[in-house]
């Protein structure tokens, strides 16, 4: 399942999450973000939610979180573990490449 993260729920849904979380920072006007949308959606369907939570954060509507984590380019993908950023990927990529990176992170 794909989650939606906002300035309001970020603390509880991401930073205090028991499982690692992948956050896709995106905006509707960003082409590469839109191309990545189906990739993230598919990964959210394929990866066990008990191992990795996957969701999106619209930077236009949630400037607080984007600012807090210094997101200055989209798409940016941050992986959180225990409230800390453990991995950062910037830019579009193929689904398998994203999967491989995530496999390494979640083990």
């Amino acid at each position: 399942m794909e989650h939606s993260f906002t300035d309001d729920n970020f603390q509880n849904e991401v930073l205090k999450s028991d499982v690692p979380v992948l956050v896709d920072f995106w905006a509707p006007w960003c082409g590469p973000c839109r191309m990545m949308a189906p990739v993230i959606e598919e990964l959210a369907g394929e990866i066990d939610g008990a191992k990795l939570k996957i969701g999106k954060c619209n930077v236009d509507e949630n400037p607080g979180v984007a600012g807090q984590f210094n997101v200055m380019s989209i798409p940016t993908f941050l992986v959180f573990k225990g409230g800390k950023v453990v991995d950062t990927f910037v830019g579009g990529m193929a689904k398998q490449a994203m999967k491989d990176k995530l496999d390494k992170t979640i083990g």
């Binding site: 006007w29 960003c30 082409g31 839109r34 191309m35 236009d60 984007a66 989209i74 193929a94």
Partner: protein
């Protein structure tokens, strides 16, 4: 192993058009989307010169439409990046890691990628003030100062776009004249938020120690004088490089690295391998010309298959 009729590498206008034609010819094409799904048009905004869209269409939307159309005719889409090819036998091989795909024909439409400045600091600060996509990232530079490097149409276009957000856009160019079209130059000179810095090159991007761009080191290309300038963002529009690393030593490339095709066709030096779009076109580099050569490649692949079937 299943032998395919057509494998298409790349998902820009050339790749999708080839897929649509090949699929409608019942060749059951397989298309590898690659590292930048949708290609260069995904980093643009409005496309105003693609026929059939009198009001213009957003680049990403145009690409999503092409994908949809190729899918409708049952193109097999693989969201992965080809890591190697072997064209040494008539059974052409395309590899993704350890997985090998075999095909009778291959259409190469891997496109071109925006050239970077090539600085270590640029790499280190990518996504932290250094951006490869003005339309994606302009938003993060509201009321900030940015520089854009370049002197062609895309540099002018991006400079003008960035003024929607930035307080000031410095357009840095290494010579004393632009090669951009007259209309784009006029638009640039008329924009009060853009300041042109002539005869200047970016020597280094500053800020690696704090983790975001704080400034640039500029060098006057005439006097050689080096100075530092505080800046929040760095964009570059300094041309493109064809994505042909996979094909070095396998396909004939020209001195700039573009795939050579037989004039008037999309044939490469390897029978059964065709090239379409920007990867073989340093001259026109348009979505519509890429789509045109994608169509040609599919028709030529179809003919090749018919002839080799005897």
């Amino acid at each position: 192993m299943e032998t395919r009729d057509v494998i298409i590498i790349g998902s820009g206008p050339a790749g999708w058009t080839a897929a649509i034609y090949a699929a409608r010819a019942d060749l059951k094409p397989v298309l590898f989307e690659g590292p930048e799904p949708g290609g260069q048009l995904t980093t643009t905004t409005e496309v105003e010169n693609f026929p059939g869209f009198p009001k213009g269409i957003l680049g990403p939307e145009l690409m999503a439409n092409m994908r949809e159309q190729a899918k409708r005719f049952e193109t097999e889409i693989i969201s992965d990046k080809v890591t190697a090819v072997d064209f040494s036998s008539s059974l052409l091989k395309v590899m993704v890691g350890d997985t090998v795909y075999e095909s009778k024909t291959v259409i190469v439409s891997t496109g071109a990628t925006a050239r970077r400045l090539g600085l270590d600091s640029e790499k280190a600060l990518y996504g932290k003030g250094v951006s490869a996509c003005a339309t994606c990232d302009g938003f993060f530079f509201k009321n900030k100062n940015v520089i854009i490097v370049g002197g062609g149409d895309s540099a002018m276009e991006e400079a003008n776009f960035l003024t929607r957000f930035a307080a000031k856009v410095y357009l840095v160019h290494r010579r004393d004249a632009f090669r951009a079209s007259k209309v784009m130059q006029e638009r640039t000179f008329a924009n009060p938020k853009i300041e042109v810095i002539w005869n200047t090159a970016v020597e280094d991007i500053l800020g690696t120690e704090v983790g975001h761009v704080t400034g640039v080191k500029l060098k006057d290309t005439v006097s050689g004088v080096v100075r530092e300038m505080a800046i929040d963002g760095v964009f570059a529009a300094i041309g493109h490089e064809p994505n042909t690393a996979l094909f070095k030593g396998i396909l004939d490339l020209d001195e700039k690295g573009y795939i050579k095709t037989v004039p008037g066709s999309t044939r490469t030096n390897v029978p059964g391998v065709f090239a379409a779009g920007d990867v073989q076109d340093a001259k026109y580099r348009q979505a519509i010309s890429a789509a045109g050569t994608g169509c040609m490649a599919a028709l030529e692949a179809e003919k090749f298959l018919a002839e080799s079937a005897g």
